[in-house]
Symmetry: C2
Subunit: 298 residues, 2 copies
């Protein structure tokens, strides 16, 4: 069978992988060419620079996911409404070049009369389910905007976005707390981090809990070097506070880079919740699985 | 009796008032000379520029409150621990010039093993109690850092800080939401504001609720002009979510400028909570009342 070019094209960077038989990774590349760096009309050239040599005539088929399918991307792939599984994704691809290049749509869901969206994370969740051999579960994808995703029967039922990474950066760089925090984050102080998690859970409100980074410093209760870890614990603790973790029947699955999933493991330890971590290989696996659906479709 | 120079010297500005018999306002002044604009050693000159003409020999006595008593201010007035009333404040003044110029200390309290602090707001709460003829209640002082203060028996028992105004500014100016929001806030859209309040209450988490400003715009559910009001409602709603408003036996008291207290009235309407608003005259009244304590003390 044909090779697959799996492409994760996000806001600030892109990653591409050439996958062979059974989805085996042949080669992997990354470029700092997120969609925000690409001028209108510039997508074909960047795509070509990233993997033109893989697109031999009659050769690989390219499947893309992430913000490349947004209104600011190469071609808008309208959101699929939840619940959605492989079939819905495969049926709603946006074709950049028929039979050659396609973009996986993101998903939308609605809660309390307000919509929510993901682009790229749906593919990672499907990939993680394939890798772990499960068809349901609760998944967290930490990041600038963390996503919490619930799946049953190999379909995504619902999800919610938490602006955790972005709030940390805002507080870190632009708030009054920035005056007290050291210039660099330094290494994670696990104890200060978990204390921050606990404070967020007890306080129940980030608007209040974040102020602790100021007062603990004011009263010399925490050294300046430990404040970034404390604040990171506070925002991640706040994210965890709203998840229904008591009802879990299987381990929570965290998908992302080890540096990030490690923090979530530490935070979830405070709550006594078990977590399995999966790395970025989930994206390749998810794109591979969607591509197999296409092959099955006449 | 002597005149009183009442002085509210905060981070970004200062206000001064000359008070006569019974605390009657004779004259009021404001300068954009908050403590952050004053170089070390520069406080006497700025004080003199603001009200030197009021400090006639044998004339007025000056009582100051606010961040001027912080470590970055004129003279540090160490925090008084809660509970605290007029007596504690009067006994713990920091004297810049004996008998002539004194600074009211701020208060500290502790919850969940984390300290909290106020400077200036304690004086406003005492002033509001004097103005309204009450000795207890729940008080909200909206601002960059909103304070929620509980008092009984003419003493402040406890309080909590919420970084509401600062979070709004961070999201407004530096977050991904800034891309969708119009350049200027425009007039408050009461309906969009109250919808934001409701969303924060239902969502239960600012990290999630704030994202609604992006998705409502993405799906054309809210015009761009209404997004600042929506976002303001979300952060103020998040602040209200954590207050124990069901147990109120008397109206909540909001202290601040009409532009701010008006938003809290609108937000509290969503919860069916009555509120009485008091303006900046509370500060003058509070300083006057502390000064009377001094007169009583031999």
């Amino acid at each position: 069978m044909r090779e697959l070019i799996a492409f994760d094209w996000g806001t600030s960077s892109l990653r591409a992988a050439l996958l062979g038989a059974q989805g085996r990774l042949i080669e992997e590349r990354a470029l700092p060419r997120g969609i925000l760096t690409v001028a209108p009309g510039g997508f074909p050239a960047v795509f070509d620079a990233a993997c033109g040599d893989w697109m031999r005539p009659g050769g690989a088929f390219a499947l893309l996911c992430g913000m490349v399918g947004s209104r600011q991307g190469w071609l808008e792939a309208p959101y699929c409404t939840c619940p959605a599984g492989f079939d819905e994704l495969a049926a709603r691809l946006a074709w950049v070049e028929p039979g050659r290049i396609a973009i996986v749509p993101g998903l939308s869901c609605e809660r309390h009369g307000v919509p929510d969206v993901i682009r790229g994370e749906e593919t990672q969740v499907f990939g993680a389910m394939e890798l772990l051999g499960i068809g349901e579960g609760l998944f967290v994808l930490p990041g600038t905007h963390s996503k919490w995703v619930r799946a049953t029967g190999q379909r995504i039922d619902t999800f919610a976005t938490f602006m955790t990474g972005e709030f940390y950066a805002l507080l870190r760089q632009h708030s009054i707390l920035a005056r007290t925090l050291p210039a660099a984050d330094g290494e994670l102080d696990a104890q200060a981090f978990q204390r921050g998690v606990r404070h967020a859970l007890e306080s129940g409100n980030l608007l209040h809990a974040a102020f602790s980074a100021r007062t603990l410093s004011l009263f010399d209760r925490l050294p300046a070097a430990a404040l970034p870890s404390h604040l990171s614990g506070v925002v991640i603790g706040e994210e965890l506070r709203s998840q229904d973790l008591g009802a879990l029947t299987a381990p929570l699955v965290a998908i992302g880079s080890p540096a990030l999933t490690r923090r979530y493991e530490l935070a979830l330890q405070v709550l006594g919740v078990r977590v399995r971590s999966v790395g970025s290989e989930a994206t390749w696996r998810g794109l591979w699985a969607v591509a197999q659906k296409l092959k099955d479709t006449p």
